[in-house]
Symmetry: C2
Subunit: 350 residues, 2 copies
């Protein structure tokens, strides 16, 4: 009887497709989906400011606009996509709860969105995730299930939980509602820049699975078609950069070590790639040392706490990787969830 | 001949009065002076955002609005007053330059304003000022003259430099143009809150000499008369709190040690007190441990880098010192210039 009940749970078509792992066949979100997401998030998500630093402008000889998603609920942009997805679940789905896997920022975004919507959440997290991310996820009311990144499959664990509990799987990037939610960050940037005058020459966005940059690209393409959009990735996880060069999805060597725990996706998502390969001008790559220097610069000069994965666009700027022709540029600081020990070691030695 | 030339320098009446140390007899700025200052600062100073944190609201059971002056040029609110003062100097005064004494934030504010206006600046700084403040002041192009806080008089050194060079002395708080400039912070808060709906029940502002809170009080009193304004000071430097209780200016024991290097003024200024004694509802006092906890909270949860002196209002909130009747409150985070070593020791041990 329990089995029959589970099968007969009246899930939305969207959720069924996600559970069956066929999200790639779901259509990419359109601009109006991002506007709809912004309406859902209004009054709930933080409308993060667009900051400028005279010192950074003087240092780089450019006009730099900083989007600090570090100030978003749960410390990263991830709340945007999670809330957009979860707020569209029906009553029965909400009762069954959600399950997600994540090294930490998606975990906290899902946990924070679930808490606001009174939805039970289970997060599958690697045992070596930053402590602050694990603790914050639990503090937000989610149940955390640990796994070993080297020997266990987070997907298998998550789908088993979904099967056992009827919970809805919430992917971290390859999902139209997640992408549309993250795109509200780009929508805000376009509107904020539009109010200030000339459009951006280029926008630089960190890239793991590619959900944030895909959503931003859809919004920016619509509102500011002259703006070039670049992904920024850590060394070893430059799958977008290499895919953009070759024209098809390339896989990174997942044995590489990187300080950017938030950006360790080995390959562009199917759905994100279907968007990114059309909209991105290119992909930049930064070293761990360049990322450390950027985290320290953000501390010393911008007075912002930025985690390594959140600092890659700033790192690309400070390290001189941004093409010279782009004078008026935007960079997204995507998250600020970093352990005190790591942060201290970076700011003391840089 | 040199003496005659110096005496005959056509200084503005304002500057002469400042040089003669009679600023207390200058009239307190009015609301329209703050509006005029805001017009001078427009497009130059950062219009800092007003932030909210769901986590902080949930933790404190209040609606908290955060004004992060950490994001201001040179990392604190001090640029506002300095630019407002320096931009009103005449051509001859600008050529002769400015001199100021400061433990660090006023130093950087004056240096940054002077750099923008092409005015030479000399800053008299204690030898034990935070390294980041000293280095940043020099990086901004100012000449730094060190002194021993225990054996030398910064005022004497500054006025000797002014006499020798014809430079204009720029006081750090007891000056109508400085106060009006700092008041633009309060003007922004009042307008930002006004756009959001109901006024604040109360606003909490750090307090050294009292320039920031005096300027903010004038602006808030005009635009939001229902809002109660409280000073927050570190233990041992609670001269405003004690003065507000007794009704006349009280002096703190300057032998006290405090982590809040930005707030070590031993006594309310004459001019700032003439404003503050009329406008403030009371004064709160926080311990160094409460300040450390606030700095760590800002790192972990708000993702903002706040220096100890900049975190006292947040410390008062987190430590439960804010009267229970104030539900919708504002706190100013006044600066973020903190050495990496101190910051690390705080975030690791809290």
């Amino acid at each position: 009887v329990a089995e029959i009940l589970k099968v007969n749970l009246p899930k939305t078509l969207r959720t069924l497709m996600t559970d069956l792992n066929v999200q790639a066949k779901l259509a990419a979100p359109q601009f109006q989906d991002i506007v709809a997401a912004a309406n859902r998030l209004r009054g709930t998500a933080v409308h993060t400011p667009l900051l400028q630093s005279d010192a950074l402008n003087a240092l780089t000889g450019r006009e730099v606009f900083i989007k600090p998603e570090t100030l978003q609920i749960a410390g990263s942009f991830k709340f945007r996509g999670a809330y957009n997805r979860l707020s569209q679940l029906n009553d029965i789905e909400r009762k069954a709860g959600v399950v997600a896997w994540s090294s930490g920022n998606h975990a906290q975004g899902v946990a924070a969105a679930a808490a606001r919507l009174n939805i039970p959440a289970t997060i599958v997290m690697p045992a070596d995730a930053p402590i602050i991310k694990r603790d914050n996820t639990i503090a937000l009311g989610a149940k955390v299930v640990g796994y070993d990144r080297l020997t266990e499959s987070r997907e298998a664990i998550s789908y088993r939980i979904a099967e056992e509990t009827g919970a809805v799987v919430v992917p971290s990037f390859d999902d139209p509602d997640i992408i549309a939610g993250q795109g509200t960050c780009g929508l805000e940037i376009a509107n904020q820049i539009g109010a200030l005058g000339a459009p951006l020459d280029a926008l630089f966005v960190c890239c793991g699975g590619g959900g944030l940059i895909a959503g931003c690209a859809i919004a920016i393409r619509e509102l500011s078609p002259v703006t070039q959009i670049y992904s920024v990735e850590p060394e070893g996880y430059d799958d977008h950069a290499r895919s953009l060069k070759s024209g098809s999805r390339e896989r990174a060597d997942t044995n590489h070590v990187s300080i950017c725990d938030a950006l360790l996706a080995p390959m562009p998502g199917e759905l994100t790639w279907s968007i990114n390969h059309r909209h991105l001008a290119g992909g930049l790559v930064v070293s761990d040392d360049e990322v450390r220097a950027a985290v320290a610069y953000a501390f010393n000069s911008l007075k912002l706490v930025v985690e390594p994965g959140g600092a890659v666009a700033l790192a690309a700027l400070l390290a001189g990787h941004i093409p010279a022709e782009h004078r008026r540029i935007g960079i997204v600081l995507s998250g600020g969830n970093v352990d005190p020990d790591l942060f201290s070691s970076i700011i003391i030695s840089n």
